[in-house]
Symmetry: C2
Subunit: 242 residues, 2 copies
Amino acid sequence: MAQNIYDDRVFFAGYTTLPRSVRGLDGAPEWPAVRAQLPDLAGKSVLDLGCGFGWFARWARAQGAAHVLGLDLSENMIGRARLNTHDAGIEYRIADLERVEFPPSSVDLAYSSLALHYIEDFERLVRSVYHALRPGGRFVFTIEHPIYMASRKPGWRTDQEGRKTWPVDAYALEGPRKTNWFADGVIKYHRRIGTTLNMLIGVGLEIRHVEEFAPTPDQIAAMRDLAEELERPMMLIVAAQR
Amino acid sequence: MAQNIYDDRVFFAGYTTLPRSVRGLDGAPEWPAVRAQLPDLAGKSVLDLGCGFGWFARWARAQGAAHVLGLDLSENMIGRARLNTHDAGIEYRIADLERVEFPPSSVDLAYSSLALHYIEDFERLVRSVYHALRPGGRFVFTIEHPIYMASRKPGWRTDQEGRKTWPVDAYALEGPRKTNWFADGVIKYHRRIGTTLNMLIGVGLEIRHVEEFAPTPDQIAAMRDLAEELERPMMLIVAAQR
């Protein structure tokens, strides 16, 4: 079973303060880039893997999606999502993405935001998603970028000229990485970009887009802290198609 | 026109001492991984972009390729390749990969080893390769990994615990990187993995494999220095298909 850090009281209290928790999709700087990879949702069936508070589910319905199924391991998240949603076209379910299976050829878009780096058996999940997708259906997801995750001691370093650099080490050593983020001992799974993409290709998906998110000049002007995202990528956006 | 560093006397003298220059394909640790991406070459037409001394061209013919065209900007390289080759099925030509065009649908395999990071207009070249390929034809290439190239000051750092890390900065700032490698002022072009892959997808190629080369345990046992390649990837292997 996947680690359920979102039901840790301290973690959850911290997580709810993030801009993306408070403001939803518009609080996430990568959202415009992710949105550009989404198909037209009118009348479509949507699956949200790691749905959190349901921000995406509600947005997808506002775009005309016929049905959205949001899955999350966290009772906290699902509880909050249900509280915030009044829509019979959206269903939320507590589910472990390490084990979940879906009805075949039932989904037009499988979406996931910053959840799949918590999954140890990514290949199993990808195979499940492949079978869940209808032919032509899309799988669009974001994960933490492996450059961001690889190091034994991730975090900015300052070089002799006072410039920030990000350390990469252990890049080829895939597997768990324990970090402290709102709570101690949060476990993420590092995979190289190649490994992630080859698993998608291996199950039969076609890679349509790979983006290492970087903020636009306008975004940096509005939020100066985002400039450091030009130095090293924090997020990877992938779009694949059955 | 691309920088012609291989015709710099000092650079060339240094380059010829590399294991891959002396021993050919078997002197390159990534070769088994690259070879695994190559199609059966019997009767096929092969294009080698940045053919160097012609090691790959001769190997391809030994595998039964009907014809190999090797291109390189460097007179030094082409001269040496011709000296070492006695085979009417191999043709070497001096050519600038920034400008070269090919006959349409004439090639079964376009191959390139560690040359395309010297190319500024990668998209133009990729479009040329796409049109040169027959349907089903493959484009298999290696380039320096963007993790290796991105930093303003690439090179190992040692952290407080004495562990080696590799700095990443300026990752989203694509463009020229000036380095000193056998000669001063060697110009390479940094592109993110996403940019490289999206250019392939954009012209109509399908991504078949993406590999961030890491040595095997056997390779490390035979050559201890290779262990550092587990810390950060130096090379990216890509296979795409028309």
